[in-house]
Subunit: 483 residues, 2 copies
């Protein structure tokens, strides 16, 4: 146990994760099995994630809407792969208004079916296309092995749903949103995700092709952090989403869907956290700067708090999210640990000597020891803080990228893969068949994460065979332990 009561990562990573999520007040388990309560600090992080994504969706022409939580059971059955994939995870409402329902209703596990039904009514002609919709919502998928944020029976997410006139446009949209997710992950969450195509085994139930962004966690496991699906005409045929084209011919639409969930919060915890707790990227941190007043006498206290008042105003004006920890009865040392646990990027200490010298002390969360600490003239405070927040953001991405890169390996053979996936990600030429993936998983606990786009672009697997089974390779795929 560390001083804050957090299990060290090296001792038990899973326990470390749960400790940090609970002690940093992000979330806690709910009295309903598999569900969680997102506490204010965790929810504010989620609000910042929402804001950063929503801006990107709107900038690319998408509009938000809202569709019902409860879906007729018959809808879920309309697309064959879809029901097969989701049947084991459904929560079912059988009674409403004091009576047993004629047809049970499913609490939405995802909304392709309900939105497919709506799109069929909304779309008449090619003039209605593309239709670009997003929904912020809760969904329920029965979860046997729940973990806060990573796997919960109910979670919050956004689900984009679009309809297009051609296959090419649907594919462009699928890739545009994958790129949007990667841009968000890299530039807001400071997580250097890898974009790639999912294998048949790992794709969405009902998609032609699924793509994902895959992130490496601190224990080198993978976290699928966002997905973008080209649904082809599967749902348009199941729900009769048709349009009259320019020649007045009736055609089925091509649809896509894509989602990022509260799972992203877990990803941020595990991509950046250390034994002291969270480390939050400044762009998403609910609090970017925490101020700890330091004093002994009441006179000093008044002096220090007055100075802090001015500092606070000037930083708020500069758009910095700042919090002054003026709690009584707690030592500065306790507060330092507490805010390190909560991952605040920058700590400011102001004591009587600082007031006299017109300086403040700034301490970075991303750099330990004396190197992370500096005294700054009050006159340069605002410019220094904004510069440091940018530096911390960039440094966290650089740290995560360096960590990822030393743990990505090309496996020379299947035996090599077996060794690598004990503590890293292994790239192999891979057949992409479910049977082969089942075997790899059974033997190594690793699953195929994706066929990374940038490593397959210039790579032609002609004549190359799968390292695991010897069948012709579909491309090069990463394998890793995964959440």
């Amino acid at each position: 146990m560390t001083s804050q009561g957090v299990t060290p990562q090296s001792e038990d990573y899973a326990r470390w994760y749960t400790d940090v999520v609970q002690k940093a007040d992000l979330a806690d388990y709910a009295p309903v099995r598999g569900c969680m309560i997102i506490k204010p600090y965790g929810y504010e992080l989620w609000e910042n994630i929402q804001g950063a994504l929503d801006r990107r969706f709107k900038a690319t022409g998408h509009k938000n809407a809202y569709f019902p939580l409860l879906i007729p059971m018959s809808f879920i059955h309309k697309e064959a792969e879809h029901i097969e994939g989701f049947a084991p995870e459904l929560a079912v409402v059988t009674h409403g208004g004091g009576k047993e329902l004629e047809e049970p209703l499913v609490v939405r596990p995802t909304s392709e079916t309900m939105i497919g039904h709506a799109f069929a009514e909304w779309i008449q002609s090619y003039r209605d296309l593309p239709l670009l919709i997003n929904q912020w919502a809760n969904v329920v998928r029965w979860e046997m092995r729940p973990r806060l944020f990573l796997r919960t029976t109910e979670f919050l997410w956004q689900e984009g749903h679009t309809a297009h006139a051609t296959k090419e446009e649907a594919q462009e949209e699928t890739m545009r949103m994958l790129d949007t997710y990667a841009d968000f992950a890299i530039n807001e969450a400071a997580i250097p995700v890898i974009k790639g195509l999912k294998s048949t085994q790992e794709k969405f139930a009902g998609a032609d092709d699924s793509y994902s962004i895959e992130a490496m966690m601190g224990n080198k496991w993978a976290l699928q952090s966002g997905t973008s699906h080209n649904l082809g005409q599967n749902f348009s045929k199941a729900f009769d989403i048709k349009f009259l084209d320019e020649n007045n011919d009736l055609q089925y639409c091509f649809t896509t869907s894509w989602g990022v969930s509260t799972r992203m919060v877990g990803g941020i915890v595990m991509a950046h956290g250390d034994d002291k707790g969270l480390r939050l990227p400044p762009r998403l941190a609910p609090i970017q700067v925490v101020v700890i007043p330091i004093f002994k006498t009441d006179e000093q206290k008044n002096l220090v708090l007055e100075t802090i008042g001015g500092v606070r105003e000037s930083l708020i004006t500069a758009g910095v999210r700042i919090h002054v920890d003026d709690r009584e009865g707690l030592t500065p040392g306790f507060k330092f640990n507490d805010w390190e646990m909560r991952g605040v990027p920058l700590r400011m200490e102001i004591g009587p000597r600082d007031v006299k010298a017109a300086t403040v002390v700034l301490v970075r969360r991303d750099v330990s020891g004396v190197e992370g600490k500096q005294s700054v003239q009050a006159t340069e405070l605002v410019s220094t803080v904004t510069r440091l927040l940018d530096e911390i953001q960039a440094n966290m991405l650089a740290q995560a990228t360096a960590f990822r890169d030393v743990n990505l390996h090309e496996a020379a053979s299947y035996d090599d893969l077996k060794e690598i996936v004990k503590d890293g990600w292994a790239l192999i030429p891979h057949c992409g068949t479910p049977e082969c993936e089942d075997r790899i998983k059974a033997e190594t606990k690793a699953s195929s994460r994706c066929f990374p786009l940038d490593l397959n672009e210039e790579w032609y697997p002609k004549g190359v065979t799968c390292s695991a089974c010897g069948k012709p390779a579909q491309g090069r795929a990463y394998f890793a332990r995964a959440y």
Copy 2:
């Protein structure tokens, strides 16, 4: 039918409402009985409502959090009045993950129980108080007579939940949030709501006292548009929400809850709409200014659209929400009607003559005929538009206030009340007993709306008796037909 296919208000107000909601693309019925699909235009209006409320909640120290959708049935039973009130409206999940559940789960109709459970864990001492939490969420209450936005089985809302050390603080919070709602309704939605105390009959199931803001709709019916409840110690006793006070004595907390829902959208439609469709207050309107290009030749079209491009940029820079309707194949007249239907506060027309004269034509949605129309020099466009939007906002509030005031009446007797509530609101000294209200409702279809705060402050009902039953009056109450 009007030209846009909307039933006139005078012919059938209920039909007018549904026509407008559907034709203005705010929402539509879903394939699940009682549920609705909120379309992008309606959702954007809701997002603006959310933004205006959320700013106010945060400015008064509240923090957002998120609690589970699914609540154990046993929770709902812990507060006696609560289960009695909500039992007939519950949707119940009996199966999850392919199995029948040991204990059924309720889809939350409201979250006092789940949040009460959490508060009991979060609160230890007086230092944890007040605890000020808000949740944005969906809730489900089985609805037998659904109406878009006004009564739907699922609706979106915010629910505030707070805990306090004293009864006085809980009452202060209850009134602060009632005032917050009134401030929002008046200054953002341009609806002159009346704040008041609900009668025993109309209060929330589990509250000591409920307060509401009541709005007058265009047909003079009342719409309860937001509620704020002082829950006393009812839920803290049911869920064991206790704290150690400064003397180290264990005490039950006093709690409050308060909510505004998507019902507010219906209120905006009915408080301001006319036979041409919606009229949206500029502060909440998704589109504040719509620009209609007018041209005949391609040359004129290029000229006009180029000018519009510049106009659009300058208004966006000024923070105006503007949309250019450059749809092909539709006449300007069709577009005028279409955007009147959608309630856009200000229409801008730009044709070749305007371009030559460096003018634009502005047409107000809130003032009919030539009085609402003016030609403006391009150099003064931005200042004129921002001024006009403010004027429209103020004028809509003034119009709604004038309409309300001529339809509020003091009833001299119960017979007088019977006449008044056919087409207005009647104020009477009232006993506040459920039996009396049942009788009034049966005989007049009117229900007690509230004991308005400002009409009861200086009014002492000593010796005054209820106009309807002759029992001692509790105060003066409004009666009206209500949604």
